[in-house]
Symmetry: C2
Subunit: 144 residues, 2 copies
DNA sequence: TTCCTTGTTGCAAACGTTCGCAACAAAGGA
DNA sequence: TCCTTTGTTGCGAACGTTTGCAACAAGGAA
């Protein structure tokens, strides 16, 4: 249940301006539910209006991330995904061989993250990040 | 104590050819001790011979990673680093705000990685990867 | 409503990285 | 030693993303 006007209000309260481009981008990513690439967001927005540029999409997504309204994460192989806080928090197991993504809950590793926080004073929250490795299929197939 | 000829032999045994470019790149990264970007490797090699191309550097580093002779890891902000197995295994705490990198030992979170392996059959080893978050300084400075 | 300030946009160039392709050369066999 | 095979290179184009800059327009003030 995304409330786009909440996101917009938050930006306005922080002194940012509300533009048609930002409204479109926020509506798309907030209603989508899953994570999307910048290019996907671009295409969905362009289907509604041609007045959009890929640089603006990246800048708006970055703005949302910087203001805690969305998260950005590395899906490996140079692919980056964005999602609003509707999606998460959780952890991605990204296979570095086949690229498959398994979503697991943060509770599975929260003890270690707490420990990192205690020992190193390093804040690993929000817990939307990726762990890269090898999925079962790819491990079994490995020849070396 | 890097033994370049070991790396070279390993490649040869896998059916790859030993070229002057590969010898140079391996010598640089194996003797360096720390992790380096592809561009850094390029510059060091170029200081010795001009016969090197950035595409070849990337291809060679990828080859080493694919054959388990080096690791590649995301330092955040789109920066990628490479290192031979002399460096590691360990974990990077990468601050998404200031980019600082803290190296911690794998034992700090190995319990969670074991758990992921058990529950999801996902291999997170070798343990040379990054955890993105906020360092103490950047957390204290945060305004929002 | 109109104006002014200044944050935002589109564009084009640049960034780091990957890819296709033709020329080249490492390695093994004759 | 030379030849043949085929893996590797350099180059240039392309990729996804970031950046500088001038034109534009959101939002507040008058
Ligand atoms: Mn996710
Ligand atoms: Mn390291
Ligand atoms: Zn896999
Ligand atoms: Zn920091």
């Amino acid at each position: 249940m995304p409330h786009c006007h909440t996101y917009l209000k938050r930006l306005r309260d922080h002194g940012y301006r509300i533009t048609p481009q930002r409204e479109m981008i926020i509506q798309i990513i907030a209603h989508c539910g899953r994570h999307m690439s910048a290019e996907e967001v671009m295409e969905k927005v362009r289907a509604k209006t041609s007045s959009i540029n890929i640089a603006t999409v990246y800048r708006t997504l970055d703005l949302l991330v910087e203001n805690g309204l969305a998260s950005r994460f590395d899906l490996g192989n140079g692919n980056t995904a964005y999602a609003t806080s509707e999606h998460g928090p959780h952890i991605h197991l990204v296979c570095k061989h086949c690229g498959s993504v398994t979503e697991i809950t943060e509770s599975d590793i929260s003890a270690s993250l707490d420990r990192i926080e205690d020992l190193y004073d390093f804040d690993c929250r929000p817990y939307h990040f990726s762990v890269h490795g090898l999925c079962r299929d790819c491990r079994d197939t490995r020849t070396d």
